[in-house]
């Protein structure tokens, strides 16, 4: 697997689409999902045209990794790609969730104070 290019000082960032993909991949019984499955189970959060661009960017960042499915003998067509979350991706997702929760509590606290 290609090593993601990130340095020690890089703060991981997570867009809404990336968070949605990680959420879908982490909250599923099966660890791996196809891009089409992600689109179908995202309830219009993800589009067919952009999901692979986002997944490609996430692969570069090291949040997800992919592999080609094993081609069956009686099935025609190109082999599809399966995606799964890496350990780093899971940690980033959890950190972002914690940060979002902390921010929400802080804002609610400020709202109460005002």
């Amino acid at each position: 697997m290609k090593k993601p290019n990130r340095s020690q000082n890089d703060i991981p960032n997570l867009s809404a689409k990336e968070a949605a993909i990680l959420d879908l991949l982490l909250n599923r019984p099966c660890a791996e999902m196809y891009g089409l499955e992600l689109v179908q189970s995202s309830r219009n959060k993800l589009k067919r045209g952009t999901v692979y661009v986002t997944l490609s960017r996430m692969q570069e960042k090291g949040y997800v990794e992919s592999r080609l499915e094993e081609q069956k003998t009686n099935v025609s067509g190109l082999p599809r790609r399966l995606y799964r979350v890496t350990g780093y991706g899971q940690r980033v997702y959890e950190a972002c969730q914690l940060a979002r929760e902390a921010l929400r509590l802080r804002i609610e606290g400020l709202g109460g104070a005002l």
Binding site: L36, R48, Y52, V53, L78
Partner: protein, 141 residues
């Protein structure tokens, strides 16, 4: 040995042969003939149907194969592996599913949508949008 003594005799013999009519077919022979005709017609129809069927089942290119070859030529290997090929693979998967379910028009729709998805996925949509924006700005001024 001579068959005819004169030309007149020969001519009368030919005339007699020409006037001979075939006896009418018996009921059993007519039935046999009808069965034979029916069998031949059925065979012909079945052969024609098989020919048409074979033509339908003939080897044809998978949907997206032309797009794939164009994309292989235009874009980098990384882009093709991570964006183009998965989009085409998804399209082929959905297309095959629709055909398997006998939904011919849905298969056609999936093919058209696959083209659009690929177009969108590769950012050409944005490029066109940018060009359209430039065109609009230039015409307003």
């Amino acid at each position: 040995m001579r068959l005819f003594t004169s030309y007149t005799e020969a001519a009368s013999y030919v005339k007699m042969v020409a006037e001979i009519k075939e006896p009418p077919l018996r009921m059993r022979d007519r039935l046999r003939l009808k069965v034979l005709y029916t069998f031949a017609a059925t065979l012909l129809v079945l052969t024609l149907r098989e020919l048409v069927k074979n033509r339908r089942l003939g080897i044809s290119r998978a949907p997206g194969s032309t797009l794939l070859s164009i994309a292989d030529f235009l874009f980098s290997r990384k882009t093709n592996e991570e964006i183009t090929r998965p989009i085409i693979a998804d399209m082929q998967f959905e297309y095959n599913e629709a055909l398997f379910a006998g939904r011919k028009y849905k298969a056609k729709y999936i093919r058209a949508r696959g083209l659009w998805t690929l177009f969108f996925g590769l950012g050409l949509y944005r490029l066109l949008k940018l060009l359209a924006g430039i065109f609009v700005r230039s015409t307003i001024r």
